[in-house]
């Protein structure tokens, strides 16, 4: 028995460095300032897309990730990401915004999440656009950046597959006969293979929402199929997404392309161009945006975007100062 004590003592001592100074969570503070000029409004604006949209506005927020583990390892992760944004037009208001709010359970074969997370459809199911000025198709009424519900996914050697069943209400949790079923199968792990190709489909009755604003009481039918491709080589990156289907009994056709070039040491400067072509509700819409991102330090990022929206006949120039920093407790 006594022979076992030194061995146990040595094992405990060896484990001490990692146990004593590690933590099982990350907590990040996020602050951003947004200001720009809109040619249609003929005045200064303090949002990147629209005051009613959730992203981007001057805001103070946090990003919290908590690993839940037992003696045999992790069994779940809790993620909460929220902002308090300023609506600067008209009566000044503060808008609480909840982005990630989910609990993801790990099982031997699949991960299952419940809460507010990304629906499993297209580019926006894996593209982290939380801080960006340029936005994917999900911010144009075709899918949702985040939605309430459940999801299931499985990573395999060369890709990923999964589906989600959500409320089809986006940022707010609303029940008006609405739902959204989405699924995606992908080949290639972007950060490992430098490419990923995904096939997606969704079907549901979704609410017409913009941020936290409900635009119509009755849900509309939405059925889409799409393909998304991301490809990297050296300092170039291309993201392409194509969707086709029906929205509210009308045919819909969407084409998205974002191309980026990283420059300077450590890729600190990234220049991007993003044309978007949409046919929906028997209208054709073209948007063209160019953006620049400069990583001033590990915590500070500066962004600028010039965008033209043919339907709104609006040209906007928008600047963003973005701060993201972890806090230790």
């Amino acid at each position: 028995m006594f022979k076992k004590i030194p061995a146990f003592f040595l094992m405990a001592l060896a484990a001490l460095p990692i146990l004593a100074f590690s933590s099982s969570f990350l907590f990040f503070l996020e602050v951003q300032g947004i200001a720009g000029w809109s040619s249609a409004a003929k005045k200064a604006v303090f949002y990147s897309m629209d005051q009613m949209e959730a992203m981007q506005k001057p805001s103070l927020g946090f990003d919290y990730v908590q690993r839940l583990s037992g003696a045999k390892g992790d069994w779940a992760v809790l993620a909460v990401q929220a902002r308090l944004a300023v609506n600067a037009e008209g009566e000044k208001t503060l808008e609480p915004q909840l982005y990630n709010a989910y609990l993801k359970f790990k099982t031997r074969s699949v991960d299952i999440w419940i809460g507010h997370n990304r629906p499993k459809f297209g580019l926006s199911s894996y593209l982290d656009n939380h801080a960006q000025l340029l936005q994917p198709l999900s911010m144009n009424g075709f899918g949702f950046d985040r939605d309430w519900g459940i999801g299931l996914e499985h990573d395999f050697a060369g890709g990923n597959a999964g589906f989600s069943l959500t409320t089809g209400s986006g940022m707010p949790l609303l029940f008006k006969g609405n739902f959204l079923l989405a699924g995606r199968y992908s080949k290639g792990v972007l950060d490992q293979d430098n490419y990923t190709v995904g096939l997606s489909a969704l079907f549901g009755k979704v609410l017409d929402v913009m941020g936290y604003h409900l635009l119509a009481e009755a849900p509309v039918q939405l059925a889409l199929a799409g393909i998304d491709i991301t490809w990297r080589r050296d300092n170039l990156e291309h993201r392409i997404e194509f969707m086709a289907g029906d929205r509210d009994k009308y045919g819909a056709f969407l084409l998205f392309w974002r191309t980026g070039l990283s420059l300077l040491e450590e890729g600190r400067l990234k220049i991007e161009a993003q044309p978007v072509f949409l046919i929906a509700s028997q209208k054709t819409r073209i948007q063209f945006s160019v953006g620049a991102t400069y990583l001033a330090s590990a915590d500070w990022t500066l962004r600028a975007m010039v965008t033209y929206d043919q339907e709104k006949k609006d040209s906007r120039i928008v600047f963003q100062v973005y701060y993201y920093k972890g806090i230790r407790f």
């Binding site: 099982s24 450590e266 806090i327």
Partner: protein, 228 residues
């Protein structure tokens, strides 16, 4: 005072539901946040830990994700020691004292059988990520690039290249000079061959990242087993 709308309908001039927030509360919140110790945002996590852990440790039954930073473990003094051991200064976006490193502690049942740790490193085109799987003695079980966008990535990602690192530990990299890219002739680090001469800077980035990774693991996990 500010008003907080919870949900607004189209055409409504006023929020359906609102909460008054005193300005002093916001000021207090901001001051509290500024006063707290801060961490940098850049870290290196596995793309898919479930898949990667099973591939690197087939016998594993689970893993625990832990976050640790130089600032948390020993602050400036530790940073100086790590730089001295590395033979180079920490610099740029990826090398600050407050970067939260993600360590995966690998289990077989309740027993720890190894670790996986990845680091960011300045490469030819932005950052590269070098991941090491280690046994409990700090010997490399597996080496691979996670992020690497160089057009010669295929050669550097070739398992043959990674196999050159298997069995090495920090002792083998002690004489590797990260500034010049030279290793002591005859040493095991000097025997590592670059499969893509056109990608020399990313090859050197891989060796610097490996040495840095091993030093951090020695400091964080192994109780400075290799510290002279």
């Amino acid at each position: 005072m500010y008003r907080i709308p919870i949900l607004r309908m189209r055409g409504d001039r006023l929020p359906l539901n609102s909460v008054r927030v005193p300005r002093f509360f916001l000021i207090f919140l901001i001051i509290s946040i500024i006063a707290a110790p801060l961490l940098a945002a850049v870290g290196c996590e596995l793309n898919d830990p479930d898949r990667d852990v099973k591939r690197l440790f087939p016998e594993s039954t689970g893993y625990k994700t832990l976050y640790v930073s130089v600032a948390q473990k020993g602050g400036e003094e530790l940073l100086r020691r790590i730089e001295e051991r590395l033979g180079d200064k920490f610099k740029g976006l990826f090398e600050t004292a407050d970067v939260p490193y993600t360590v995966y502690q690998i289990f077989k049942g309740k027993e720890t059988i190894g670790y996986i740790h990845g680091v960011n490193q300045k490469g030819q085109y932005g950052g590269v990520q070098v991941v090491l799987a280690l046994d409990l003695e700090g010997n490399i079980k597996a080496f691979y690039f996670q992020k690497l966008t160089n057009q010669y990535a295929k050669q550097l990602r070739d398992p043959e290249f990674g196999r050159q690192f298997v069995g090495l530990n920090l002792k083998d990299f002690e004489d590797y000079d990260v500034a010049t890219g030279r290793a002591k002739p005859g040493s095991r680090a000097a025997a590592i061959k670059n499969p893509a001469p056109e990608a020399e800077s990313d090859f050197r980035a891989a060796l610097r990242a490996t040495k840095k990774n091993l030093i951090l693991c020695d400091e964080f996990l192994l109780g400075n087993k290799y510290l002279k």
